[in-house]
Symmetry: C2
Subunit: 308 residues, 2 copies
């Protein structure tokens, strides 16, 4: 028997700032269609959310009755429909109850809320990661320290399925603006690909952890190392990457006991880079695939919303 579009039970969507990912899921939980584009919130805020969403479902041949569950920036104030935040501490399973419904959509579309930490000194927000956490650790017992790398990396404490607190580090964006918009761009332009095994990357992680206060001085050594020692672009870029990730780990470690086990929720090259960085920092990490986690989280939400 062949899966046909008509067997779709629901659509699962991870709609971020710069990316759109949609999976069509059958009633047995199988993926029967997938779309990945760069039509993130930034694009959709200009061209409209509904046209993008409908075009992808139509391209996959999904019927008009198929409902959809969405996580990520589509629920931000500047997104499709604002889905608000659940305040921490919050049980991951409670996210679904706060989903916002897209009005007049013709089908049942729910956007999951983010999480907010309304602390006076350390206010923080996440959108999308809460759904990965629901998939990865929604039913896990015990206390977990979770590292979720990205443009705005999150370090999250989850205890018995509840998020008790979290911190965002803007490592990915910092690396991006320093590599492209600062004096360091001269030193890292035309770098080849590198990975976490690069000696300059590992040394930089250790250096930033040892001397976090010197962060902006260490960043500048990427330029002066090129000028005075002729360091090549790949080494320079690996060093800058190691410094920004090392600074993040130094911050996360500052409120963590040494030897704490870390759950690393990541995919692709970033998973390998952070795995190597955590290793260089002496932390043992268990990798959880971020793609799988978000699909599991969306599936969990779908099963709550539309029980079979």
């Amino acid at each position: 028997m062949t899966s046909t579009p008509s067997s779709a039970a629901y659509a699962a969507v991870d709609w971020g700032t710069t990316s759109f990912r949609l999976w069509l899921i059958s009633d047995t939980g199988a993926i029967i269609g997938e779309r990945r584009t760069h039509e993130g919130m930034t694009t959709a805020a200009k061209s409209g959310f509904a046209p993008i969403f409908n075009a992808h479902l139509a391209a996959l041949g999904a019927g008009a009755h198929v409902p959809a569950v969405i996580c990520g920036m589509a629920g931000a104030r500047q997104g499709w429909v604002e889905a608000g935040y659940l305040d921490v501490p919050a049980a991951l399973g409670d996210i679904v109850g706060q989903a916002a419904r897209v009005p007049d959509a013709g089908r049942d579309i729910r956007i999951l809320p983010g999480l907010a930490q309304r602390d006076a000194d350390r206010p923080d927000v996440m959108r999308g990661e809460e759904t990965q956490l629901l998939g990865a650790l929604g039913k896990a017992e015990g206390a977990h320290l979770v590292c979720m790398p990205g443009t705005h990396s999150k370090w999250v404490r989850v205890e018995d399925g509840r998020v008790t607190g979290f911190s965002t580090f803007m490592s990915g964006e910092l690396f991006d603006v320093l590599s492209k918009q600062s004096i360091l761009s001269h030193a890292v332009a035309e770098a080849s690909a590198f990975d976490g095994t690069h000696e300059a990357f590992r040394a930089a992680v250790a250096e930033a952890i040892a001397h976090p206060a010197l962060a902006t001085n260490l960043f500048f050594t990427v330029r002066s190392g090129q000028l005075l020692h002729g360091h090549d672009a790949t080494r320079s870029k690996a060093r800058l990457s190691g410094l920004t990730i090392g600074l993040e780990i130094a911050g996360a470690l500052s409120s963590t006991r040494p030897g704490t086990a870390v759950s690393l929720v990541a995919s692709g090259p970033l998973a390998a880079l952070y795995g190597a960085a955590l290793d260089a920092a002496g932390l043992s990490a268990t990798l959880i695939d971020a793609d799988l986690a978000v699909r599991d989280g969306l599936a969990s939400a779908a099963h709550s919303l539309w029980p079979a």
Copy 2:
């Protein structure tokens, strides 16, 4: 008796990355003409250095015999004529002997070299600040810790007129790219002017000094503070400024005894901002005007090059 252009003894030029400043100095040391523009190295590298330089001297009516001494990025590899670096430790008075001469210029034009710290782990460079130091501390006895704020702030150790070591912190550029190119731009756009007395600035300085490892997390709170607590743009910008300057001071303090006296070489709003930040950090600072320091340094070089 009126000073006339014909009484000019020499031209003193501070030619930075984004600024050009020229003073025409009489044989009694008086300023008899001044030009300030944004024709820095970035502009001049495209349009040519000689045309800009000659046009300003002509506008001030300086004769063809008037020599010129220049400091700053005009001596960089991508500048007018590369002036190289003196390696630290270096006596500030020795800068003049390494000046590069601009060939075929019709007049005697010397560009002062920068300083290089050819350390394997902490390579560093400066161009322009060495001339400010020559003016401010070239003949001073004893040990001095000097803070020179800017796009790339320098912290310099000067002992009996010798630079023994220095560190660059890219605070100014970091503040600039984060305010304009990152997610934080939404939180700080349309801010009004603020100064070092702003409570959010002083609190942020103290916070970054207390928790430097959390730097990129603290940066993100500028955004989440706007989202969750409705913090206004001026407060947010003052906070971001305080965080970047505080992080720099934390780094400088990491290799300095508490209570060390600091010489602050700065002018204008930056002088007031760093003065307030050093005060919030519990450091006593003596202000040395940066404009005066660079003119004094160029004068010292001129007197060595062309003794009366």
